[in-house]
C-alpha cells in the first residue's frame, strides 16, 4: 500500500523490500477480512513483496473465484498478515531512497530537503 512520496518522484510504487530479518506471527484467519482486502490490494506487488521475504507459495495470477479455495485463502492470509518485515528497508524504485524498517515499523518520514 505504501509508496515513496518524495517531492518530484512520480513512480514510487512498488517499494522494493530489503530484508534483514523477517518474523512470522500467527494470526487467526478471517475469511471476510481477506475477501474484503483482496479487492483492494495490488496482487503483483504482494507476490513480489512476499517473494522477497522468502515466501514463494503465492500464484503469479489471481482472481476473486480463487478465494473459495481454503488453501489459497490460507496462503493469502499468511502472506498478507503473518509475514512481518522486522528489520530491513523499503526502497524507492525511482530514486533509491531507503525508508528504514526497524522493530517492524516502517519509517516513512521525509528529510527536510525532500518535502
Amino acid at each position: 500500500m505504501l509508496s515513496s512520496n518524495i517531492k518530484g518522484v512520480t513512480n514510487g510504487f512498488p517499494l522494493r523490500i530489503e530484508v534483514v530479518k523477517v518474523e512470522e506471527k500467527t494470526v487467526e484467519i478471517n475469511a471476510d477480512f481477506l475477501k474484503n482486502m483482496f479487492q483492494k490490494i495490488d496482487w503483483k506487488a504482494l507476490t513480489e513483496a512476499s517473494r522477497s521475504m522468502g515466501y514463494t507459495e503465492l500464484p503469479e495470477e489471481s482472481e476473486f473465484s480463487l478465494l473459495e479455495s481454503d488453501e489459497f485463502l490460507s496462503r493469502f492470509h499468511h502472506a498478507l498478515l503473518e509475514l512481518h518485515l522486522e528489520e530491513g528497508a523499503l526502497v524507492c524504485p525511482e530514486s533509491g531512497r531507503r525508508f528504514p524498517v526497524s522493530k517492524g515499523i516502517p519509517n516513512m518520514l521525509l528529510h527536510e530537503d525532500e518535502v
Partner: protein, 487 residues
C-alpha cells in the same frame, strides 16, 4: 415496535447516536435501503413530562433481536425493555400492566420459565425492605414460572422515577410528576468491559491515551466489526484501536513520533503489548508517517472501512508535520542532509495547526474510506460567545450524522463527530485539496497564529469581562447543558 430505553445518566450527548449507529450495524435500517434513501436516525419519544436529557426514552426498533443486539453491544444503555405498563402512581401502573397481560397467556408467564423482578430508581434511593414490598406488590401478575435470581429466562424491572425531592435532580430540571415503568428486559450493556480495559490497567500509556469508555463509544460510532479494517492516523499508544480490535475489526495505525510507535517503553511495554495484554489480534501494520504528506501509493483508494482518531488539537498535545521548524518559519533555506549522514538522520518537524490537520484528515478519509465508511474524530470547541452556532468542518464527500459534546472545562469542550462518506473522491476534489495544501504550506505562520487554541484555553481571563460575558451567555443560551453524573 416501541421499546423503553433506559440509559446510564452520563455522557448525555453520546447516548442516542450510539444506539442509532448500532441500529445500523445490526440491520435496523434494511427496509429503507431498498427505497434508496439512507436514514441514520431512529424514531424517539419522551415519556410524559420528561426533559430531553432524561435517561428514559422510547425508541422504535424493527425487532426484539435487533433491540437485544444493540443493548448488549452498547456502552451507555442500562437496559432495553419491552414495556408492560407505566403510570403516574402504583394504581395507574397496575391498571396499565393488567391490560397488557390480558388473559395471562403471554409466553413469558408460562410455567416452564424462570424469572426475577428487580427494582431500579432514578433520583431517589429505595431501601431493600421497600424494594421487597414493591416486588411483592406485583402478585397481581399471573406468573406461573419459577423465581430464579441468578440467570433467569426473563428479567423484569420496575423503574421508579422520582426526582423531585430536593431540587438537585442529578443536574436535570425537576420532573413534575412521578413516573413508574414496568417491563421485561430485552438486553443491557456489558459495563464489565470498562474496568477490564480501563487505562490504569494498561501497560503502555501516553499523556493523551483515550479513556476506555470513550474509545468503545468511538468504535461503536465507527461500526467496528469482524472483517473490517479500521485506521487511526494519530495512533499514539493505540488506545482507540484497542477498542476497535475488541469488537473484532482489523486495525492499522500511524504516528509521526517514531518513539511512540516503535520503541514504547521497552520490549513488553509498547503498542503491540497493549493488544497482547487483552488477547486481541495485533494491528495489521503500524508505521511512522506524516498525515500531512501521507505515503500511500498513487491510485490507492477506498481501503479502510472506518477511520477513528483523536487529532492533536494543540491543547494538551500539539501536532507536528514534516518540514522542520526553521524551514517552515521561512527563515532559512532547506537544510540539505549530507549523504554520509542520511541513514541515521532524524528529520526535524514543525508545528501542525488544527485547521490544516483537520483538512488533511478529511482529505485522507475522503480518499481512503470505502463508500458508506465512517470517519469518527474529536473536534475541539471553545465555549465562547457564539457557542450555540458552532461550525464543524465540512467536506463534499461527507455527511455529518451526529455530533456529541463532552464538556472538558468552562473554556472548551470536545465534540465527537461522526461522518459518513456519501460521495466519491473525484479529480476536482483532489485538485482542490492539493491547492489548499499548498496554501497551508505557503502561509504556515499565519495559520499557526490564527488557530491557536492553547492560548484561548489557558490564557488568564479578564475577570470583569468574563463576568459580563457570563451573564449574557446565560441569557442567550437557549438550552442549558447538562453533563450527567460523574462526567
Amino acid at each position: 415496535m416501541w421499546y423503553l430505553c433506559a440509559f446510564f445518566h452520563r455522557l448525555l450527548d453520546y447516548r442516542k447516536p450510539e444506539v442509532e449507529s448500532l441500529a445500523r450495524l445490526f440491520g435496523a435500517f434494511e427496509d429503507e435501503h431498498q427505497n434508496g434513501d439512507v436514514s441514520y436516525h431512529l424514531q424517539w419519544k419522551l415519556p410524559l413530562h420528561h426533559h430531553p436529557d432524561s435517561p428514559f426514552h422510547f425508541v422504535n426498533l424493527p425487532s426484539e433481536q435487533i433491540a437485544r443486539n444493540i443493548a448488549n453491544r452498547s456502552i451507555l444503555v442500562k437496559g432495553m425493555y419491552e414495556l408492560w405498563g407505566e403510570g403516574g402512581s402504583y394504581e395507574e401502573l397496575r391498571d396499565s400492566v393488567l391490560s397488557y397481560v390480558g388473559d395471562g397467556k403471554l409466553p413469558c408467564l408460562e410455567s416452564g420459565s424462570t424469572f426475577r423482578i428487580t427494582v431500579d430508581s432514578f433520583g431517589k434511593a429505595i431501601s431493600l425492605k421497600e424494594q421487597m414490598e414493591l416486588i411483592q406488590g406485583f402478585s397481581y401478575i399471573p406468573f406461573k414460572g419459577q423465581v430464579k435470581l441468578k440467570d433467569p429466562d426473563h428479567n423484569f424491572c420496575l423503574i421508579v422515577v422520582d426526582n423531585n425531592n430536593d431540587g438537585a435532580n442529578n443536574g436535570l430540571p425537576p420532573v413534575v410528576q412521578k413516573r413508574f415503568f414496568f417491563g421485561r428486559e430485552v438486553g443491557a450493556a456489558d459495563r464489565k468491559l470498562i474496568p477490564t480495559y480501563q487505562l490504569k490497567s494498561r501497560t503502555y500509556l501516553g499523556p493523551t491515551a483515550m479513556d476506555a469508555e470513550m474509545a468503545f463509544l468511538m468504535a461503536n460510532q465507527a461500526l467496528a466489526t469482524p472483517g473490517k479494517l479500521v485506521y487511526d492516523p494519530f495512533v499514539g499508544t493505540g488506545s482507540i484501536l484497542v477498542a476497535a480490535a475488541h469488537f473484532g475489526a482489523m486495525t492499522m495505525g500511524a504516528d509521526i513520533d517514531i518513539r511512540v510507535v516503535r520503541d514504547g517503553r521497552g520490549p513488553d511495554c509498547n503498542v503491540w503489548s497493549n493488544f497482547k495484554q487483552y488477547g486481541l489480534p495485533m494491528p495489521v501494520a503500524l508505521l511512522r508517517a506524516d498525515n500531512n504528506l501521507p505515503p500511500w501509493r498513487p491510485g490507492l483508494k477506498e481501503v479502510f472501512d472506518a477511520i477513528i482518531c483523536d487529532p492533536p488539537y494543540g491543547v494538551r498535545a500539539g501536532g507536528r508535520k514534516s518540514g522542520g521548524r526553521k524551514l517552515l518559519k521561512g527563515t532559512v533555506a532547506p537544510y540539505v542532509v549530507p549523504d554520509d549522514k542520511r541513514t541515521g538522520h532524524i528529520p526535524s518537524t514543525g508545528a501542525y495547526c488544527l485547521v490544516e490537520c483537520v483538512h488533511d484528515l478529511l482529505d485522507l478519509a475522503a480518499r481512503m474510506l470505502i463508500m458508506g465508511g465512517r470517519l469518527v474524530f474529536f473536534y475541539p470547541v471553545l465555549r465562547e460567545d457564539d457557542y450555540s452556532e458552532i461550525h464543524f468542518p465540512e467536506h463534499p464527500c461527507f455527511k455529518l450524522i451526529c455530533s456529541s459534546e463532552q464538556i472538558l472545562s468552562s473554556r472548551y469542550s470536545r465534540v465527537l463527530l461522526t461522518m459518513v462518506k456519501t460521495g466519491p473522491y473525484t479529480e476536482e476534489i483532489a485538485e482542490a485539496a492539493r491547492v489548499k495544501h499548498m496554501e497551508f504550506k505557503d502561509n504556515h505562520l499565519k495559520w499557526l497564529e490564527d488557530g491557536n487554541l492553547h492560548s484561548a484555553v489557558f490564557s488568564p481571563s479578564n475577570a470583569q469581562l468574563t463576568e459580563e460575558a457570563g451573564e449574557s451567555k446565560f441569557l442567550k443560551d437557549p438550552r442549558p447543558k447538562y453533563r450527567g453524573k460523574y462526567v
